[in-house]
Symmetry: none
Subunit: 207 residues, 4 copies
DNA sequence: GATGAATGAGTTTTCATTCAT
DNA sequence: CATGAATGAAAACTCATTCAT
């Protein structure tokens, strides 16, 4: 604690090594998750895959769950990054553009390490971390809400928050299913178009 | 022996006892799943909760997984029953009625033993049985497709199958999220209304 | 007990059924031993293979071991029969004839259900019954001793009993090894010839 | 860490500890085999007898069988050592000496931990390791064959290999029986003498 | 800190045996 | 007697976690 505030960078090396070790361990965890699934992901296997002693794993992670949780969190961070990048351009977009952006963003999210994503979604018991995954949507909801409210006049949306929640839930639900069930017959372009139609018609309202 | 010759020719006692035992065991499994989650749902605990010897559990279920799978299947069957009941009335419905029916049906589905549903959805690794859950949606997709096609003139749907798939995925995604995250603030009535709007506007198309 | 002494053959049928059942069970035991080995030979499997309820097995056999013991005993009886048949002709034989007879007899013994023999020898822990197998040799030792003593003049044998024991042990040891190791290269005819030479030279003594 | 830098460069402590543990476990296995027989030799009992956690047993032995197999192998090694020692002197021996040597050697072999030997021979199902036991005989067969061939002129042996195989099988068979049946009446000295006679007469042939 | 041997509670699973029907 | 469902002690084996070095 105190160390962090010291000026001397002497202790840096050890800190760097720590970081690197944590990184190695987490990458190994992800690899093991991919290879052996959640049930097969034992701490010993992780240690071995990381080329690190089991003791070192416990130096940095209090228990098995924390390993997987951290892998999930890291994955979330990547997803969040992808989303943020897309949503930055949202502000001054037209309805069509905005919707397109949103759909592309969510599609792109599912392209980040899809295999790991799948394992995390399919196999990991819904421990605390998964909630975090959903909570993340909450993070950019305000953005969407803001956009809707600033385009009120073109839309037919009684409750912007409600509409946002619903749309995100719906789109995410659809994408989840696309990527988990992999109905390969489904053309991704077509899907995107239809999703856009779904959103636009909902926001515009029915005449 | 004696039993077979008695007045009660209703059912082979042995068969009845078996059925009852299986039932007791599965109910105990569900209870344990609720109380201790998937990881805590051990065969010994199930046996104890069922007030049955561990040997009896293995008499009817070859391994731990088969227990949970069977619980899932039973749950599916109940869900399927609820859905069927609702969808029977679909045929001659107007657009508004049909959509209302569909939404209510899917809401009702999530009201069948919601706690068990939650555990099964949240915690059970996505083993074979879960796919069955999704497959079940597929079972009633044709019904919806048929309805859409017989109402072509009132709708703006280029591809009935695609639209059906999308809508079901979206609605299910939304409901899943409602029931898993339990954002208690959300009013169910309001949600239903909005879902109906979502569907109707998508099907009607935008002018 | 009393029943056995009664004159009326009324109860015969049930007795006959019992015998048949015992026979069916033992044959099933042998089959299971062949198919699944000793460790895989469980009472339930035997019952199933016999097409009989497990309860019935325990009606006639107090425990698992007794099943296997009885199979061994039956096997012994067959072996004994083969031996007896051969050894009857021993009495007036010349040295060469006698030795030939003995060797052929012991070879023939190993041809009685060789697969079962092998399983019994290889896999069954040396429970009581195996001793019986050896004890059986003791049964016909006197015959050989008698023959040796009645041919004293042609032989150089200080102690007939000792010599008999030694020869039988040696021949049996050799045959056991032949049939367990199955060195297929070994020609059976040649082996028989050599065994005869071994015996004859030992009995005749060295000049 | 500290240990490695200390003065004792004899052996890696970890390695030594491992070796010792393996040794303790195997000795415990032998003890349990003696006390409870093969069927009673469970991994838990072995662990308890070794004063070691069951986990440690599985650290070094993948399953129960491997424990017994290793005990057998160790026993084999001891037997092999005894044999080698004796057979070294074979080369320049006369017929009488050579035969005496062989018989003594095989007698001595059966005096190495005879109780363990008995359990291993009697109770252990004929798993892989037992074949090893026989295979070991094969190892010194060439020595005997060589000796026979270099003494051809004094002997009457058409096929040295065949003769060797036969003699070893016979002698081993006899000894096995002696030590398994323990016919205490049998005088070991006398037995040795007779075995020698058996061998010598066979090799010399009958005039 | 790093190591990895050691731990042992806890799992799954088997199977000889009993006993109500 | 026959049945076979039910039993439960006990076996094999796993794996998160600790701790001496």
């Amino acid at each position: 604690m105190a160390g962090k505030r010291l000026v001397t960078p002497r202790k840096e090396p050890s800190q760097r090594r720590s970081r690197e070790l944590v990184d190695i361990i987490l990458k190994a965890t992800a690899r093991v998750l991919l290879k052996d699934g959640y049930e097969g992901c034992t701490t010993n296997r992780v240690a071995e895959a990381a080329g690190v002693s089991i003791g070192s794993v416990y130096q940095y992670f209090p228990n098995k769950e924390s390993l997987v949780v951290r892998v999930m969190e890291r994955h979330q961070e990547k997803l969040r990054a992808v989303l943020s990048e897309h949503l930055l351009t949202l502000q001054n977009a037209t309805l069509q553009q905005a919707v397109k952006t949103l759909v592309r963003a969510m599609l792109d999210v599912h392209r980040v390490e899809p295999k790991l994503h799948r394992v995390l979604m399919e196999q990991v018991p819904r421990i605390g971390a998964l909630k975090a995954l959903h909570a993340q949507h909450a993070a950019y909801e305000p953005l969407v809400v803001a956009w809707i409210e600033s385009h009120r006049d073109q839309l037919d949306v009684p409750d912007a928050k409600m509409a946002t929640w619903l749309l995100i839930a719906a789109v995410d639900g659809v994408l989840q299913r696309v990527f988990l069930d992999r109905p390969s017959s489904l053309d991704e372009e077509q899907l995107a178009t239809e999703l856009e139609r779904l959103i636009v018609s909902y926001l515009r309202g029915v005449t």
